[in-house]
């Protein structure tokens, strides 16, 4: 059977968009032709019930953090539940100024189905202390594609913490494309929490560009969705920039999460660090694909990536594909990947001090992923996600 010709029902519903398949190099572990098992037609404008939105908003791990909140419900901006940032240094408008089309499957799908989005801009030299949270909510029970497209621009010398929280109810497909631009000397602390409905499919693409001396701290927690595929591209456009991209998976059941990151060192003297700490239980499967490109002129590049997996069951799986593509000759680059179980000696030590097994395991899981969480500079945000991670095992065992 020629899968490239025989379209799946989902593809037929997507009107000409070819879903990626396992013979495409970047998609070998995430065959969307199989994983998207039915059509997710474009969403129809449906008014979400306000109480559903309120209930889902309460599920955000960041409820205890003082922040501005930009809420998108079923693909459209929800002004009623949003609290716009007060600072004059922040500009927010609708819709986002969309980026040009692409043949990358997630972007192409987004291009076709996006119904809304936000354009957030921090004016040059504006220093915004309180985090700004984008909350993307899906409330529909009927399988639908919900797509939004956002742009975040941090002006020269400006700084901000931007959170992206994905929440929902039901079996939907969420597709989010985000363009992130950091100006000269800008700093962005970006935190993404993918805590979608357990029945959802989450597809995303974040395209990040860094100007001279810009600093990016990016962390993604992936713990929701039946299937998630998150693409990230990070391009250094000016010298002296520094990007740290981290993530953590907390997966169980039959969850499938795949991250593909491409870090492109186009200019000299930039630093990139990727660190992923992934926990898989039961039949869950995690994948990390990281590619670092060092262009011919990008001398003195310092690029490192590592991914580490903690497998809590014998049927859990983790696949790592590190790639280095180096064309310059004076660089420091490296990669590493490990995979293992909870250390029995650690577990026994904690238990011998009176800590029950489930609690001891969650402490060790929190310790394992903790290194990646250190990427989050904002204390309140980091603590909120650390708590979520610490409780993950216990809540899962008690039948979440």
């Amino acid at each position: 059977m020629n899968v490239a010709v025989n379209k799946t029902p989902a593809e037929l519903a997507y009107g000409g968009i070819l879903l990626p398949h396992a013979r495409m190099e970047d998609w070998r572990w995430t065959n969307l032709r199989v994983l998207i098992d039915r059509p997710y037609p474009p969403r129809l404008p449906v008014d979400a019930r306000s109480e559903d939105v309120a209930r889902l908003l309460k599920a955000s791990p960041f409820t205890g953090v003082a922040r501005a909140r930009l809420v998108f419900v079923n693909g459209e901006f929800d002004a009623k539940h949003s609290t716009l940032p007060a600072s004059g240094d922040i500009e927010f408008s609708l819709p986002a100024r969309f980026a040009p089309a692409s043949d990358e499957p997630i972007i192409a799908m987004n291009q076709r189905f996006a119904t809304g989005g936000g354009y957030l801009r921090i004016k040059p030299h504006g220093n915004i202390d309180a985090p700004i949270e984008f909350v993307l909510i899906a409330t529909e029970d009927v399988p639908r594609t919900i797509a939004t497209r956002h742009v975040t621009e941090i002006g020269d010398g400006a700084s901000a913490t931007v959170i992206e929280t994905h929440l929902g109810h039901g079996a939907y497909l969420s597709n989010t494309v985000t363009e992130i631009r950091l100006g000269e000397g800008a700093r962005l602390d970006r935190v993404k929490a993918e805590i979608e409905s357990a029945k959802a499919i989450h597809l995303s693409h974040a395209h990040m560009t860094l100007g001279r001396d810009a600093v990016l701290r990016d962390f993604t927690l992936t713990t929701g969705a039946r299937v998630s595929r998150q693409n990230g591209t990070c391009e250094f456009r000016g010298q002296g920039a520094d990007a740290r991209i981290s993530g953590s998976y907390l997966l169980s059941g039959k969850q499938h999460a795949d991250t593909r990151l491409v870090v492109d060192h186009c200019v000299p003297h930039c630093i990139s660090r990727e660190l992923f700490k992934c926990v898989m239980d039961e039949d869950a499967r995690g994948i990390f694909q990281g590619k670092v490109i060092v262009e011919r002129d990008a001398q003195k590049t310092d690029g490192k990536q590592s991914s580490h997996a903690l497998l809590l069951s014998s049927s859990a799986e983790f696949d790592a594909k590190p790639e280095l593509e180096i064309y310059a000759d004076d660089v420091v680059c490296g990669h590493g990947a490990t995979s293992g179980n909870i250390d029995e000696n650690h577990l026994f030590y904690l238990r011998s001090r009176g800590i029950p097994e489930a609690r001891a395991k969650s402490m060790l899981i929190a310790a394992f992923v903790g290194e990646a969480f250190e990427t989050i500079s904002h204390d309140g945000v980091r603590e909120a996600l650390t708590d979520l991670a610490g409780n993950w095992l216990t809540s899962r065992r008690s039948g979440k």
């Binding site: 011998s352 009176g354 800590i355 903790g370």
Partner: protein, 251 residues
């Protein structure tokens, strides 16, 4: 307090017998030293008592205040008052020392139906115990045992013991890797915990530690059996004759 009756243990994987009928009764307030050459089964005894996996009890029983210890999970044993000071305390990166101590203490209290300790009371308790053992605030800020020297790790074990206040302390080769100053600090820490309602089992290869922690009874373990028991003078006799000499006599 503790009764070990005819305990036979083998390594589960290798099907190799390690303990061949150990019997020992320890009463509250007593300090028992268990001495023996390498491979005699000393560490196995401590691990079996604390519930480590990998050992199979083929015969015998262990009772803690009349309760079957071998049927309990390691954390239940701890909540019942048992504490093992490890020969090689392990490093646990990412788990903060203070959090670990607090979770452990409160888990034990909860299991015993007691109220949890408040944070200020806990801080005071740890600070007080740490000062007495020469443990700095900086050490307490690090993850469990991470970056500690051999001596610091042993002191940290005694700190845990002092905070958790167990009724049965098992010290496995606590003297190994300690210089004479560190040995004195650790021994002082242990002696401070001696009391009429607390029992201790001190496992050691050398007599040296017993100059500082004076035992009430000394037992010699050889080939998985207690071959000789006596008072504190037995340790000195061992030092003079060596284990080989004693084993010949016992045979």
């Amino acid at each position: 307090m503790l009764e070990i009756k005819n305990l036979h243990v083998k390594l589960a994987e290798e099907n190799r017998a390690i303990l061949n009928g150990v019997s020992l009764a320890v009463k509250a307030g007593e300090v028992h030293a268990i001495m023996g050459p390498n491979g005699s089964g000393k560490s196995t005894l401590s691990y079996v008592l604390s519930g480590r996996e990998g050992y199979e009890v083929t015969q015998g029983e262990v009772l803690l205040r009349g309760e079957d210890v071998l049927a309990m999970e390691p954390d239940e044993r701890a909540a019942k008052g048992m504490f093992l000071a490890f020969q090689y305390p392990i490093e646990i990166p990412g788990v903060a020392t203070m959090q670990f101590l607090k979770v452990a203490l409160n888990a034990q209290r909860k299991a015993r139906g007691e109220k949890e300790i408040s944070t200020p009371d806990f801080m005071r308790l740890v600070k007080d115990r740490a000062n007495k053992l020469g443990i700095s605030q900086d050490m307490l800020k690090r993850p469990v045992n991470v970056g500690f020297s051999g001596g610091e790790k042993k002191r940290a074990e005694i700190l845990q013991m002092a905070v958790l206040e167990p009724s049965l302390c098992i010290l496995d080769e606590t003297d190994s890797g300690l210089d004479i100053d560190a040995l004195r600090i650790v021994a002082d820490g242990v002696n401070a915990l001696r009391s009429h309602d607390r029992a201790m089992i001190v496992i050691t290869h050398y007599q040296r530690l017993l100059n500082y922690i004076i035992p009430d009874f000394v037992h010699v373990l050889s080939n998985g059996r207690i071959v000789k028991s006596g008072g504190k003078e037995l340790a000195l006799e061992l030092e003079a004759k060596g284990y080989a000499g004693l084993a010949r006599e016992a045979a």
